[in-house]
Symmetry: C2
Subunit: 345 residues, 2 copies
């Protein structure tokens, strides 16, 4: 990973900013600790952003789309053509992530990382190929493509340097399959434990999906200590892109809000490339997909809520950014006892 | 309760609107059920509002303030004067509920229901007395005052009929004490089980607080089957006001977002006065106070999140309204498969 890290420096969390945030919390007009986790959320973001005034605004959710050759194995409830169709839906503003970003005042950036079908001209185009190879038969991509995907993700962040927080989102028919493979390789869980029903497959299909993942790992034989090799072998272009988003955002002190299992797989890879990235990750929802809990465990992340969501796109991240905004708002907008002229002695 | 209900009709939930909402959810551009609880939140609000297009806007959080004679028993970590001081802080925009309402686009209405100290001239003034009597010695209020408090709460809602959702908030030093008494009387839990540390008292003080509550129930001897008698005996003016808010809001098909244990005690009383009000209640946070879980159980409410909050003011309700807004936004703003020209057959 040496050359990946050569131009990437992820700073340590700012302990002074965290202490200043905790000190401010103790002076706000409320009983100490009475806002519970909202207080620690604000302090965490303060330490990441190196400021006593943490904020989520402007907020961006990056939704990266790509196709997966493994879809040919029938691992999804939907045909591959849905990926391109949903990208058009994103651009038309009709998808769940659009509605949630609009409701929460978040910019949504949609990126073509390698969609097989045609995508709109106005999309951010970092397409690496027309989808990955079928990992049940051969590696998903070349090592060069893996590096290209990560570099593309980094460039999306450098194109949005005003953002103070970034959410990880994705779209790609079949992409819970590479995510489960990555999760099994990078955590202590078995393939079967981390393989779920994705967009809604039945139990028979889920069992076949687990077999496909076992076969993919056997065939491509990735080195689990080399995250770029894992990405090359069983990954996806959008997953590689999100790895780059997480790395670059962390280097710029932007908190990174993880979404469901695909974003979680990218976060696992990013933390394997540079463990310091884990300091900048924030939880969003607890996904209905079984691999998510393994990912959150490995990354030490607490979800903000558990609504049984399993859509991806960055939908969980978008809702969570609303909660983090609330946490930052109480932290920065409330009066202190002194400001309010309140004497509680 | 006959004459309380004489001019109050709480309509049944609209099953057709719920069915239409579920039907719409099945046509939106996402796998069926993939937004989990966000989908049921939208359907619940659709049934309450009797519309296929549920919304939380405009949203109001009503923060009712009053003092409590029982504060003289040393049941709180703060002196009674803090109630009036915090009301001034609300009016100056410096409290947690102000910051959260501002962040979430919610109007905050502060009501003096019976604060002992001086409150600002621009506050909504429904003050019934300079605080309740000390319930350890005598009933909190007269039966007439209990009815006045409920009527005042109802009038606050009739002054805000444009609101589509209302959150219950409160401020009153000592008010977890009457709330615990009400909760013990109206659920199957013991006083000790539902008596917590409030704003931050130690275990010794908490045990004394439980003794005070036992003594209050013994001395005032309320009839637990008569909610107005419970309110009169061990209640508070802000609690009575919130009972009225819940009743009137439900009668107008406004969803009512319950906050912590004081709002929860008011919700229990309202549901005892008219069980149909329970159809219009929505959960917000899971409070750190032990009585809250007993209340949510009795009312059949699921919290949206558990952040260990224990501040009141309507802070949990304000954060939850942001989540309900997200649920309504995906429901109403997303495209259907037909609208997006997406064919998944």
């Amino acid at each position: 990973m040496a050359y990946l890290a050569a131009d990437l420096t992820i700073p340590p969390l700012d302990a002074d900013a965290r202490a200043a945030a905790a000190d401010r919390q103790s002076q706000l007009t409320k009983p100490p600790g009475s806002l519970g986790r909202l207080e620690t959320m604000a302090a965490d973001i303060a330490a990441m952003q190196s400021t006593a005034e943490p904020t989520v605004d402007p907020a961006v959710v990056v939704t990266m789309a790509a196709d997966h050759g493994v879809a040919a194995e029938g691992v999804s409830a939907y045909p591959q053509s849905i990926t391109a169709a949903m990208v058009r839906n994103f651009q038309d503003g009709g998808a769940a992530v659009n509605a949630l970003c609009d409701a929460d005042g978040i910019e949504n950036v949609v990126v073509d990382m390698g969609v097989a079908g045609e995508t709109p001209d106005d999309i951010v185009d970092h397409a690496i190929a027309d989808g990955t190879a079928n990992i049940a038969e051969r590696p998903a991509m070349t090592r060069t493509q893996a590096h290209e995907a990560i570099a593309a993700g980094r460039s999306v962040v450098t194109d949005h340097t005003a953002a103070r927080i970034v959410g990880l989102g994705e779209m790609g028919i079949g992409n819970t399959t590479p995510s489960a493979a990555i999760t099994a390789l990078l955590t202590d869980r078995s393939v079967d434990e981390v393989t779920g029903h994705g967009t809604g497959i039945d139990e028979e299909t889920r069992a076949r999906k687990a077999d496909v993942i076992e076969r993919a790992i056997e065939t491509t034989d990735p080195d689990p200590t080399d995250p770029v090799d894992v990405l090359r072998s069983v990954g996806g272009f959008e997953i590689g892109g999100l790895v780059g988003v997480a790395l670059e955002a962390a280097s710029r002190r932007m908190p990174v809000v993880v979404d469901g299992v695909i974003a979680g797989a990218a976060a696992l890879l990013a933390a394997e490339i540079d463990p310091r990235v884990a300091d900048y990750l924030l939880g969003s929802h607890a996904s209905a997909e079984p691999g998510h809990e393994a990912q959150l465990d490995a990354l030490g992340l607490d979800p903000c809520f558990d609504y049984g969501m399993r859509l991806g796109e960055g939908t969980g991240a978008a809702v969570a950014i609303g909660v983090y905004r609330a946490a930052c708002a109480v932290h920065t907008e409330m009066s202190t006892f002194a400001e309010a002229g309140l004497n509680v002695e």
